[in-house]
Symmetry: C2
Subunit: 574 residues, 2 copies
Amino acid sequence: MDTRTVGCLGGGQLGRMMVYAAHRLGVRMCVLDPLGESSPAGQVSELSIKGSFQDAEKIRELASKCDILTLEVEHVNAQALEELHLKGVPVQPLPFVVKLIQDKYDQKVHLQKHRIPLPDFLKVDSEAELHEIGEKFGYPMMLKSRFGAYDGKGNAVVSDAASIPAAWEKLGGKAGKKLYVEKWAPFKMELAVMVARGVDETMNVTMRTYPVVHTVQRDSVCFTCLTPPVGVTQKEQELAQKIATDAIKSFGDARGIFGVEMFLLDDGSVLLNEIAPRPHNTGHYTMEACGVDQFEQHLRAVLGLPLGDCHLRVGGAMMVNILGQGSTPELTAQTMAPLRCALRVPDAGIHWYGKDGCVKGRKMGHITVTGFTPASALEQIRPVLKAVDGEGNSSSIEVPHKSSPSVGIIMGSDSDLPTMKDAAVVLDDFGIPYEISIVSAHRTPEYMYEYATTAADRGINVIIAGAGGAAHLPGMVAALTPLPVIGVPVKSSALSGNDSLLSIVQMPKGIPVATVAIGNAANAGLLAVRILGAANPGMRQKMAQFMANEATTVEKKRRKLEQVGWQAYLADSK
Amino acid sequence: MDTRTVGCLGGGQLGRMMVYAAHRLGVRMCVLDPLGESSPAGQVSELSIKGSFQDAEKIRELASKCDILTLEVEHVNAQALEELHLKGVPVQPLPFVVKLIQDKYDQKVHLQKHRIPLPDFLKVDSEAELHEIGEKFGYPMMLKSRFGAYDGKGNAVVSDAASIPAAWEKLGGKAGKKLYVEKWAPFKMELAVMVARGVDETMNVTMRTYPVVHTVQRDSVCFTCLTPPVGVTQKEQELAQKIATDAIKSFGDARGIFGVEMFLLDDGSVLLNEIAPRPHNTGHYTMEACGVDQFEQHLRAVLGLPLGDCHLRVGGAMMVNILGQGSTPELTAQTMAPLRCALRVPDAGIHWYGKDGCVKGRKMGHITVTGFTPASALEQIRPVLKAVDGEGNSSSIEVPHKSSPSVGIIMGSDSDLPTMKDAAVVLDDFGIPYEISIVSAHRTPEYMYEYATTAADRGINVIIAGAGGAAHLPGMVAALTPLPVIGVPVKSSALSGNDSLLSIVQMPKGIPVATVAIGNAANAGLLAVRILGAANPGMRQKMAQFMANEATTVEKKRRKLEQVGWQAYLADSK
């Protein structure tokens, strides 16, 4: 469809997945990689060059075969790219951005100038200076290499003054390596956002931002990502997207996709950690979860094609990286175990990178599981996570993300529980995860506010609220959440639930409560199932089956009455 | 992950997409195709052989390089496959099935023996015989080549006795080509189902069936596919899946994926049309819409890996084929137009096959658009369909499938319309497609039954039902559909809607109606939006925005009251 050839510096797994996207668009690719045509990307690209992406000569050779240059790794010869760019060769992202990102300290100075919130940081040239900074920043603090760091390599935690010499030594300070220090960010979670920057037909900048993911590191390497991130409020997600977008805006006319890693602090503020000027591990989930994945989006941005839509096509997605295990280049059973396991997991996308030989800790592949909700994705990926750590450790494995039930059952008082339990029984029957709690509009108004305003962010899809008498709970909760709220009027002693019913059903225009019959919490549970099945054929089928079973039950009673007559029937039911 | 090499006879687009799937699983592939390494599949596979898949020598060469043989086209040298298989080379699907399918007449005889419902068919050896059959079957009838037919080539419609000589000539009857006749199947729609047949660890057969798609042909070539098929009942879909599954069961130990094309007749019966023993055009939608696509499923089946889940991960999907246009081998703007257009369509998966040169009518690529519902997929793909036919014809293009609204608004009487219109206004504001109708439980009970039982099959996600007085409509509709039903008690003159409210809300256990306030159809519309947003973050965001706007409106009123005082405020509102 597009007759251009894209040259890519680097031929690893990111390049490989970029080649797949190029094929779909009809774009040709040539990769430059030390492994040439046996690199993961070289195996599938139309052309490849064997050589270092640091080698100016090879980069010029690549440029001679291509219409535009891009990259899948930032540790390239940016000088060579700059020279080519000055001679009129299109390079995206622009070489100055690649240079800026190569020097983590300069990157931070640039972002600070553009008012992007960051952890405090300082250049450090000697051990003595590091002590001074320790006094200022407090401990722990992070000592980091300015150049060439990735996957936690080139970072050291300085836990106290006594550990300064070891950290200084470890990162090569003595050998003259350029280092800098970052104040510790006391984050409660790490977030990441992919941002695409392209141009429209009139060469005006266009930007698209993917959803926020919660990322979990293990030994400083990305282990899992979950989206939407459970336990992160809508406001926090919007803040993270805004900071990521603002940061990429600071890169002028640079185009492509950018991975932005951030810290979410306890107070809800967000600090930028670092930026990758290319597809990123935290964006792999887009292959299954979004209309256009990060690789195609990168190519669209670089080539000046229209950017694609970034929203989630599914309710939730979780990715886990598969790292090499064992000490031999052979693929051990342990490395393969999560992949073999994933073959049995519904909605698991398996991605093997085709790397020659296995190295411990090397990214060999990844698996993304999608679900109707983030909770269902989490639930389904559990056996794969177990397999990552091997059967022996299976008891210790914990899903590294908060899970969330689909339905919240709440009631104004524990006296409503004998009624409300019927909703729980129905949800158990349908296998739908729920939480159940006491939330009183009148006695715990602050908690009610908190419960209702955070429910959607916690992954809840439907709320069932029961209350009696003045029965304000369902309506107040509905006023505080965009979720559907089902109201159960609990039978009161004074007015037999008439009061509860009218309090719940007679809501003003603007805020609906889905009201069921007095005391009929079972129907509230069934309505929740119907709501979850509104756009879910599988769930709808389960409801149809339930209704067929109910019909059979009545059918049996009918036959019995017709056979034994009313006297025997009544005598029997006594 | 799997160290085996799969050999594939044929290297077209189906082979190419099979190679992508193989890569993800870590499986190597070698393709045999006349175009060798420049064939669509050869461009991306690890190995390729240039040669005909009819050439026994080349097939043996392929076998020598591979652990198992399969195919992406059935017009291969089945004899050569059979000989290899007898010598112990694994071949899947089994050669006897390939042979059976190559002869369309024998295929039908085999399926008839296994009691698969088919249009009547007969062998025909002379023009005279064809006249006799015409007397028996009636006209029109289908004259078909037994061998080598595809994409409508090798088929001729015999519209009456007078057209027999021309049809006989066209299909080569005179030249001794083997033909047979099929009685015309007066179908209302064409359906297709992909069926996978594999084995478990103990080599027991396992089968998985994908959802039913509605396929539309143009000039006898697959043009579009929609799933779930709008206007096909659940029962009809289950019947189509059962017939497809039964047909594939008849193939003994053969493994792989099979495309089964069927006719749906007016009376709801289903006849099998034909079977392809490989991935199929009608299964392309699985790439975006299902957890495991047809290509990976085929490899899993052939290799004896566990079969993957077949259910839809999205609410709906529609595929359109992009055929070569124009009379030159150059890619014309018209051929490219739908692809360029798709770059701007949300959730459009673009697949270009990388074929060298363009031939009119040749499959050059395809586009699949997914949506929250089949209706939204249909709506989104509309500009792509327009682009297929060129801008000049844009007024004439019609989406070749029934569309379906998301919400059904129904009421017992037109006297309810002044109330119920408020629900429509809300849905218009939120951009949600709806249908609106009069359905009376008491005056049109049959129509109510039909409306309620077909709503889900027609693509409706939520029903809003308004009624007054005895107000049976919402409850009766809820009893006949697994969809969520919202009840609006319309204010009655006798009891001010108290009667309507109690009739609607006091449903027995088992069948819930989500009841809103008396006369408050706007809240019913808003509740429908919340229900559609229960698992759809985008829709939920729209609801949150609506609630924020409502708050702003009240805020303004509050400020005005505080500024002007109550006297002026009331005077102003008069």
